[in-house]
């Protein structure tokens, strides 16, 4: 029992990332009908927002400290980050320590702006073109974004550690009444899961309980009629694109401590997220979220030693295998709606 719970928990953090990216993909697909191959790049840009914030906070000036000497006897040069000078050493150190959560605040406007610019500047011109063209142009955009990030940040992964208060692990087994040390789980993964749950809940609440969300849902169901009612649905869909970009970006910001960001992390996640969207059902938001968590947990079960010894390498291919089976048996995916992308 405890082993099963452990595997479910292990699957949750990757599942959260899949669910968040797939949610954004589905939002874009459901509203604008565009297949966005650059969505992984948005995830990556989010992660690099965290890197940028970390670097900005660590900007420092040098002073010569006469009291300390280096091994040659010269006065030691000390780097002091500006934040420590402005807010005092202790507050400054805490701010630097919490740079990843702080980056969330910084990333929201940036990702919204990136999403808005992308939709207005590029995607807008591709509504009438075939899906193949949309795939191709966003694929090109993904390459460009990736290379720009590589130019500024280099090709190596960059560490973005979590705050030291959230380092270490929790003994969840003890809380649930199992033996001690049965289920040990890193705190940051729990934080990531909670964060993902909040964002997913937020997006659903926004769509369900606001007038704006209602109009968007109506537009997803029948764009033409909503337009005929005199509502500027395009403008709202553009904002939804921005929100989808924001969701992907935030997923990236918080993923940094789990996996140091590098410039091609987006591509790695993109392929899997597409599979997730297809399994969940094109255009179905709950389907995308459910499939994200489901596949994440499945992957973690397939990575157990029992599974890998029975069928070697099952952990590498399980997601694709599930996707192929689902697509062939239930072409619309788990929760796909009728009439959406039947082609």
């Amino acid at each position: 029992m405890d082993a099963i719970i452990l595997q479910i928990l292990n699957g949750l953090d990757k599942g959260s990332a899949y669910a968040l990216i797939a949610l954004g993909l589905t939002l874009i697909f459901g509203t604008l009908g565009v297949v966005n191959f650059a969505h992984g790049a948005l995830f990556m840009i989010g992660a690099f927002c965290a890197v940028t914030v970390q670097r900005l906070l660590n900007l420092s000036f040098q002073t010569v400290d006469e009291t300390q000497k280096d091994f040659l006897g010269n006065p030691l040069k000390v780097d002091t980050p500006y934040v420590e000078a402005w807010f005092g050493p202790e507050v400054g150190a805490t701010i630097i320590d919490w740079s990843v959560p702080l980056a969330v605040v910084f990333a929201i406007p940036i990702m919204l702006a990136v999403g808005y610019a992308m939709e207005r500047g590029l995607i807008k011109h591709f509504y009438k073109r075939p899906h193949a063209d949309q795939i191709l142009v966003t694929f090109g955009l993904a390459i460009v974004l990736q290379e720009i990030i590589k130019y500024f940040f280099g090709a190596n992964p960059i560490q973005t550690p979590e705050p030291s208060a959230l380092k270490g692990s929790l003994d969840i087994g003890l809380m649930l009444g199992f033996d001690p040390n049965a289920i040990i789980y890193p705190i940051w993964r729990l934080v990531y899961f909670a964060f993902a749950a909040v964002i997913i809940g937020g997006v659903f609440a926004f769509l369900q309980f606001t007038t704006f969300g209602m109009v968007v849902r109506a537009g997803m169901a029948d764009r033409e009629t909503v337009g005929l009612l005199g509502i500027n649905i395009d403008k709202r869909f553009t904002i939804m694109f921005g929100i989808a970009a924001g969701v992907a970006g935030l997923a990236g910001v918080m993923y940094g401590p789990l996996n140091p960001p590098n410039y091609h992390m987006g591509m790695d996640f993109l392929v899997l997220s597409f599979v997730v969207v297809v399994v969940g059902g094109m255009g179905s938001l709950p389907g995308a979220v459910a499939a994200g968590f489901l596949l994440g947990v499945l992957e973690s079960f397939a990575s157990t030693t029992w599974a890998t010894t029975t069928i070697p390498g099952i952990n590498q291919i399980i997601i694709y295998l599930v996707a192929i089976i689902i697509l062939l048996t239930r072409p619309r995916g788990l929760m796909g709606r009728k009439g959406v992308m039947e082609e």
């Binding site: 590029l122 899906h131 795939i135 090109g140 390459i143 992308m341």
Partner: protein
């Protein structure tokens, strides 16, 4: 000639002349001169031109004619490479059985994947092929290289070792891929004045095969079968209503393009007897998509142009560094020179992919027909300009 009409024959002849004379055409600059780095006439690169040309021609038969965008074609290339290297390991270094097996295995493999993937179309087809290719990559990379059953040799890549059986290998034969004793690496150097030209056996084998493949592609394009594939692209529903089942046609196109990819993979292994899993990764599939679109999907010559274009600039662009840029802009005043170098710097050397990405986006946005359409538009514009002038003259006459 050969069952082609006049226009296609001349196209085939042009391609034949270009490929056969490539060692001259690609080496326009004397060795040792400052421009020698733009020479592309060395065997390794020329082989890649034609091999990727074959790959792109095959991809175009599927994408250009039926409109099915496969994002997993590199899987067939990888499978072809692996089977060729296995032939080297088991039989001998002769390339004929290796290439034959790579085509056969790729055909079987694509039959399997195509049968499953072609049940869906549009975006689902792209994602299915992508999933299959990634799965094959994962399998080749880790699963199929366990000690008990080592089919792919994992991260190291499959290669020929001294203790491999090689039952037909004789001591008189060269210890590298050969065609009945003619080593693929044997190169004849021709020096004329300051110029030096390489004639490589491997390149000419690939070139001849590419010409045959190009001829076959023309025949497919012009055949009733090709018409059917175009019908699939333009309106599948209408085709259904007329009582035709598109599935066998698309499956045949998929298998044919898979065989082209397998052939390219086999040739790649024949030039350099090594096969690695990274050839199957989806970025490699993306590359052939780039080549085909950039050159012009659905046209005959487009994919070859695209493959040549991308491979040429990949090699040449990545060689340019800041020093060369400073030489180029040295006629400018110092400040402007540095500024120009600063502007151009991100796009060269390691930044080649950035240039490629931007170029690709521009082509998709403004020139969906690729380089071929660009050429046609340019030609039309020039002709119309000439005509426009005469038109203006004729219009003026009645007024007088």
């Amino acid at each position: 000639m050969l069952g082609l009409d006049k226009k296609d024959t001349s196209l085939l002849i042009i391609v034949a002349i270009l490929t056969l004379l490539a060692p001259f055409i690609l080496n326009p600059f004397p060795t040792g001169s400052a421009m020698a780095q733009f020479n592309a006439g060395y065997p390794d690169l020329m082989q890649r031109f034609v091999i990727f040309g074959i790959f792109a021609i095959g991809f175009n038969i599927l994408f250009g004619l039926t409109g099915y965008l496969s994002f997993g074609h590199a899987a067939f290339l990888g499978v072809g490479s692996y089977s060729a290297v296995w032939m080297f390991k088991l039989l001998s270094y002769n390339v004929i059985p290796a290439i034959a097996l790579s085509v056969v295995v790729a055909a079987l493999f694509s039959l399997l994947i195509g049968y499953v993937s072609l049940r869906r179309s549009g975006i689902y087809f792209s994602i299915l092929t992508l999933a299959f290719a990634q799965m094959s990559f994962a399998l080749a990379y880790s699963v199929l290289s366990n000690p008990k059953f080592n089919l792919t040799n994992g991260e190291t890549g499959l290669q020929v070792y001294a203790d491999d059986p090689q039952i037909f290998h004789r001591d008189s034969l060269p210890d590298m891929p050969h065609l009945f004793g003619l080593s693929m690496r044997s190169t004849y150097k021709l020096d004329i004045g300051a110029w030096s030209f390489d004639f490589n056996a491997g390149y000419y084998l690939c070139a001849v095969i590419m010409m045959v493949m190009f001829y076959l592609a023309i025949r497919i394009f012009r055949s009733p079968f090709g018409m059917m594939l175009r019908a699939v692209k333009s309106n599948q529903q209408r085709m259904n209503y007329t009582g035709l089942n598109p599935r066998p046609y698309t499956l045949a196109a998929f298998v044919i393009s898979g065989m082209y990819a397998g052939l390219a993979g086999g040739l790649m292994a024949a030039m350099d007897p090594l096969a690695g899993a990274e050839r199957m990764q989806w970025t490699a599939s993306g590359e052939v998509v780039l080549m085909t679109i950039l050159g012009g999907a659905g046209t005959l010559i487009g994919p070859v142009l695209g493959a040549g274009f991308i491979k040429y600039f990949e090699n040449i662009f990545s060689k340019i560094n800041d020093n060369i840029l400073h030489q180029w802009f040295s006629f400018l005043p110092d400040g402007i020179e540095d500024f120009m170098v600063f502007i151009v710097h991100p796009f060269i050397g390691k930044g080649w992919h950035l240039t490629l990405g931007i170029l690709f986006m521009l082509v998709v946005i403004f020139l969906p027909g690729g380089l071929v359409e660009g050429g046609q538009r340019l030609g039309k514009w020039i002709r119309n300009r000439g005509k426009g002038a005469t038109d203006a003259k004729t219009k003026q006459e009645p007024a007088e």
